[in-house]
Symmetry: C2
Subunit: 343 residues, 2 copies
């Protein structure tokens, strides 16, 4: 196992300086007026010795790693998996790579991850935070390290954000429910609800209901904890179903929707004849089920690429630039699971 070849090795075996080799290998040969011939000797020798640059050394020297960090609550959630993919693709155009991390909705873990990324000297961080407030994020943030929030925002005018307009997405869905005759609605959400996404969806939906005159007695909210959410949904839906006798359910994210479908399955509740169902967040299979599932679909591709675009504006900025916020309109996929009520 021979030692890896470095710039110095090439320089030495050619009897030139490291500087020269570095210039040539980085394509700055011409601009530094290095003779054609010398350049070719360098290139040839580099190939001969199978030279592989050491990005650590380069990064240390240049203060730049061409790596960004991405933190989400769970990379195996299909929604985040797609965001990650979109971010990866957008980054590759800049020759950047991605360190991904799952925070499991755990603030402590999230903070540790941010610090770890800073220690690894990433050039920027994209994060779907589980923090309630900006203060902790700001405190952590090394001055000058670009942050972009995706999906979830925190009360702040100091950090750029890219996400969807959850409020209006849910509002539109509420109208759709009412249009189709539903009037005893269950809202399936999480607690503690410090997440901007869930809060906005809930607010938007409730506003939608109340704007059409639905009274408080005509809906119920179920808030399940994040841990063991599936089982909680099943149990609480079970209880509420007999008590409240709902005609529809609005699931505030895809995990909750899956759990809700499981509940229906287990209890032989047919959708939509016995229960109308809609989900925030799309899953590929939703449009392929025998009964297709109504959903609010977020433009994941767009979110990812926009987040990267903004991140690079900050990375490349000479002077601090003001943070911007993008709220992209989601798309309402009206499908069979929320068909006009017949019962």
């Amino acid at each position: 196992m021979r030692k890896k070849t470095s710039l110095a090795d090439i320089a030495q075996s050619l009897d030139v300086s490291k500087t020269l080799v570095s210039m040539v290998l980085n394509g700055h040969g011409d601009s530094n007026g290095i003779s054609r011939e010398t350049q070719e000797r360098v290139l040839a020798k580099a190939k001969e010795l199978n030279y592989q640059p050491n990005m650590l050394a380069r990064g240390l020297r240049m203060g730049k790693t061409n790596t960004v960090g991405l933190i989400v609550s769970d990379i195996s959630n299909p929604f985040y998996a797609k965001i990650i993919r979109a971010v990866e693709d957008a980054l590759s155009a800049y020759s950047y790579n991605l360190i991904v991390c799952s925070s499991d909705e755990n603030k402590k873990k999230e903070i540790e991850l941010i610090q770890m990324l800073e220690h690894k000297q990433v050039d920027g961080i994209i994060i779907s935070t589980s923090q309630a407030t900006e203060s902790e994020l700001i405190k952590l943030k090394q001055p000058g390290l670009p942050f972009v929030l995706v999906d979830r925002y925190v009360r702040s005018d100091n950090i750029p954000f890219v996400g969807t307009d959850n409020y209006h997405g849910a509002y539109a869905l509420a109208n759709h429910f009412l249009d189709n005759g539903y009037k005893k609605v269950v809202i399936l959400s999480h607690k503690p609800t410090h997440l901007s996404t869930l809060n906005d969806r809930k607010k938007g939906f409730l506003q939608g209901l109340s704007d059409r005159g639905l009274s408080d007695s005509e809906y119920r909210i179920i808030d399940v904890p994040f841990t063991n959410r599936h089982a909680h949904v099943i149990r609480e839906m079970q209880q509420l179903y007999d008590l409240f006798n709902p005609d529809s359910v609005f699931c505030l994210n895809n995990s909750l929707a899956i759990a809700c479908l499981d509940f229906c399955k287990q209890n032989n509740i047919s959708i939509p004849t016995q229960l109308g169902v809609a989900s925030y967040d799309e899953i590929d299979l939703f449009r392929l089920l025998p009964t297709t599932i109504t959903s609010v679909e977020q433009p994941v591709q767009k979110i990812g690429s926009k987040a990267v675009e903004i991140l690079f504006q900050h990375i490349n900025a000479q002077v601090p630039i003001p943070p911007v916020s993008y709220q992209i309109k989601p798309k309402l996929n009206i499908r069979e699971s929320s068909a006009k009520k017949t019962h």
Copy 2:
């Protein structure tokens, strides 16, 4: 935007050496006999100046980055998303992080990614390769850089591998199909089929059929390209359906299964009464659909953790250790989509 604090800053402001500070901060204070008091002064000052270690510098010096690379064909595929999550969790026990990359079944891209990871000095690489042979991988591999193959292997005794026993998983499924009376089977796969996974599944399934005396005229194989696979599946299934009049389909991975479900949906083909369906690879929703989908489920958790375990055996090995292969048995989820044939 003040400069970040380094070891030197702490050393200087305390009038001690960088050496000492380094020792203390790495917990080697006691073992180097540094006085309790000095240690505390260092720790206090580090906190006061908000010292954040620079892992680049440390990595350069130590030849170790505490980072591994993971390459799969598409990180947004639910199967890989789960593998990634499992790997991430296993790595976090070692305080390691993960750079993830999608190769899109593209050899050239894969090779570039491997090189990029080597340049970034990752301590090891886990890869679900799209290469046909080991030669290219071996050629790339810097001597001493640990590789572990997951999911897909290449003909080789030189690189450790962790995956499932695709042959027997598919073999078992063939038996299940025959047990339930299916006898005109479509096998839905990809071309070019250089992937060990698809090849083994196909072989195992065909062997299963032939061991029970099914003749060549009683099955058909559809091989679609990777690009635009969904549309291809729909089109080719369409054609074959009328011609061959199959009673069942075995989809060799989850993307193909989704496309197949779409085909059935579009053509109002009811599962399983008109067409039995099974998928290799599980998707959460499969067990929640009104008609649940039979699948061969791979132990993703186990694959991820085992791959990491093996990787670290190699990373920590003083002398080269022989590569091992793990083939984990998959689980056959028999569900409604392949119920006993009645027509």
